[in-house]
Amino acid sequence: MPRTTTLDCPGCPPLRALTFDSLGLIKVVEARGEQGGVSKVVERWGDPDASKCVLAASIDDSKNDPLLAVARKSGLIEILNPLNGDLRVSISNAGDAGARPEDDGIAGLHLFKRQRMESSRSCTLLTCTTKGNASMRSIDISNVPSESSSNGCLKSWNVCASGTVLCSKVDRNENYALFGGKGIEVNVWDLEKCMKIWTAKPPPKNSLGIFTPTWFTSATFLSIDDHRKFVAGTNNHQVHLYDTSAQRRPIMSFDFRETPIKAVAAEPESYNIYIGNGSGDLASVDIRMGKLLGCFIGKCSGSIRSIARHPTLPVIASCGLDGYLRLWDIKTRQLLSAVFLKQHLADVVFDSAFADKEVAPAAADPLVHEVQNRNDIEEHEAETMPMKRKKAPKGKDKSKTKASKENDESKKLKSKKKSKRVTGDSHDDDS
């Protein structure tokens, strides 16, 4: 049989993904065009520096004023603007005196979406270090980007006495968080009361009387049943399904290949999950039965560190130690596109606001009360630079920031301008 020399990639729908790597770089990958856009790196933020190695990242991709939180190896947590990479706030995670940040890196990071609606000038972060120090803090994001020591309303607690935390996730409604790791059974916490509400029990010894030590490497909530069901992957290549309302032992577990499960992601409104392991195998599984639906085949050779599901499009992204960002179709399990990003990648997130940028920047207008003075200035500076790529996201931001300052007349003018731009954009995309 003749071997095909090229794997044809049909290209992916318009999307925007951000990847974080071991040199602390953030790379923006965009695919444009309606049918079969080729994804490529459009921007690179930051300078290569090994001490700034990214450990975890989280995005709040709301329509107005999106934010991106990045935890670095040096103990810094940076909050950026995911549209242009401007640093908003950077805070140090050195909570305890004497503990070096390198020893106690951040294992889990989550940027809350909900709380920011109430007070637009601050955001809430949940961080968890490998030693189990979890803390929730709200950060003022309107001030100048510097070491802001004033992180108000800090709630902190200890998840575990010993062991290392390796995974932490927050459920969809952002009321509960789960933690797990090496030597730590999965436990669920109520974030409002800071109380542990549930702990898993280790699975029983097997028929030979051998007990496998607890070592969770990844976990995710199944989004259909809010916080009660979740999936955890272990170091000895097992995937467990837990139901907190049923029992403390896994209600279902199955094996997948022979290397540790390094990433798990759930499909919203469905029972399918995606699992990636240490030798680069990515598969889709129906969690009700533990039935393997199929593998994603595409020359993926390095450990998968992160899987992200696009909120609207039927696309998942995987990245890992082989330095590739791969975009897959969910239905056909076909590789849509692969981008070589040169470094060991730690995390990937989707910017879901990107897809509708061409269509409706006007929709984002009514909420114009959020003004960042600093941002405003920067936007104006950036405007002068002819940057083709940024056109669409800029348009939206600009409109938001300007409109607040200027009076109604200019607003009308702007809307005209905007509509022009919109049409121009659509033309661009058609061609």
Binding site: L7, S22, L23, P48, T259, G298, S301, S303, G323, K342
Partner: protein
């Protein structure tokens, strides 16, 4: 049945005709009327026809070569540029384009180099110290190979394996400040795999080892001196290759003693890494008049005065072997919980012109 066969035969003849048309030779025209050698059923006859065809081809090729040489010579005599030589198409130079090939203008590559596990050794901030051990069972060629490895790699120490776990050995070597650990694995008393582990947290490379020839089996072999060797790493082009190259580079001291005229080569070709170990010497040699006649015209201006030429002579001093990368693991040796940076998978073999190193 018969009709079918006839049909297939006629097809074959048609194919033969096409080929003959391509060749466009008189002798082959005669052949066209006849049949291809593969269609002859009598073996003796078939082999005779085949031999004849082959001989014809050979003669033709020789004629072509002669004509090309003559044309070149004539061009030289006339003082013209000789016609450019054709480069043969090989698997290497028709390699599939690979986006992971390192580029010299890539700043991320150099930043990554500074940050990786080997940078302290390669910047000569620390000296490499190597621990060599074997698998549990080890005899005949294994120890002989290790004793030769000990002469090749400076500052390497052999430790008996005993019945220790490899993870324990890794811990021990970390505590003793070793920078690398090499495990020679043998199967049926024949070394067949090599494990190179960077310490304390460097990657683990698993190689298949084949074509091992020990020093005493190499004809006219030399004996290496105790000088620090020079290191030649060829063709490690991609990101993965670069990393493997650096792993190998970190086994050797970074300050070669050129007086020793001793060179260790790791040559990568089609993902196979060939290891050779040589001594070299520079000799001045008088060029005889008759020998240099052909080159005279070329060298006339430069070499006429001295008639002497410096040539390098090589003497191989073993061992020689071939490595093929099976997997590259992130972190030290861990079969159960290890994360791989690269593993070979069958689905990656889509073409024989695709290489990873």
């Amino acid at each position: 049945m018969a009709g079918k066969r006839k049909k297939s035969e006629s097809e074959e003849i048609n194919e033969g005709e096409k080929e003959n048309n391509k060749n466009n030779e008189n002798s082959n025209k005669k052949m066209k009327k006849e049949i291809l050698p593969s269609m002859i059923k009598n073996k003796e006859k078939r082999s005779a026809v085949h031999a004849k065809l082959k001989h014809e081809k050979k003669v033709e090729k020789r004629k072509k070569l002669k004509a090309r040489d003559a044309a070149e010579k004539r061009a030289l005599e006339l003082g013209e540029e000789p016609p450019p030589r054709m480069t043969p198409r090989t698997i290497e130079n028709t390699r599939e384009p690979d986006e992971t090939v390192c580029r010299p203008d890539d700043d991320e590559l150099f930043a990554g180099n500074d940050a990786d596990e080997f940078s302290s050794i390669l910047k000569q901030e620390s000296t490499p110290k190597i621990l060599i051990t074997t698998c549990r069972f080890n005899s005949t060629r294994g120890p002989a190979f290790i004793s030769e490895l000990l002469t090749v790699i400076p500052n390497s120490h052999y430790y008996k394996r005993g019945t220790y776990d490899l993870k324990k050995i890794v811990e021990y070597a970390k505590n003793k400040d070793f920078t690398s650990l090499i495990v020679v694995h043998a199967n049926r008393r024949e070394p067949d795999a090599l494990l190179i582990i960077g310490l304390p947290d460097g990657p683990t490379a698993h190689f298949k080892l084949s074509k091992l020839v020990l020093r005493k089996d190499i004809k006219n072999h030399g004996n290496p001196t105790g000088h620090l060797p020079e290191l030649v790493l060829n063709n490690f082009t991609t990101r993965l290759g670069h990393r493997v190259g650096r792993l190998i580079q970190a086994l050797f001291p970074q300050s070669p003693e050129f007086r020793g005229r001793r060179v260790v080569t790791f040559h990568n070709q089609r993902d196979f890494i060939f290891f050779r170990h040589h001594r070299y010497i520079f000799e001045t040699k008088e060029i005889k008049g008759s020998e240099s006649k052909g080159k005279k015209a070329k060298d006339a201006k430069s070499e006429r005065v001295t008639q002497e030429k410096v040539i390098a002579r090589l003497q191989e001093c073993g061992p020689q072997f071939t490595l093929k990368l099976i997997s590259l693991q992130h972190g030290t040796f861990d079969t159960k919980g290890g994360e791989f940076e690269w593993v070979h998978k069958p689905e990656m073999d889509t073409s024989r012109r695709r290489f990873f190193l």
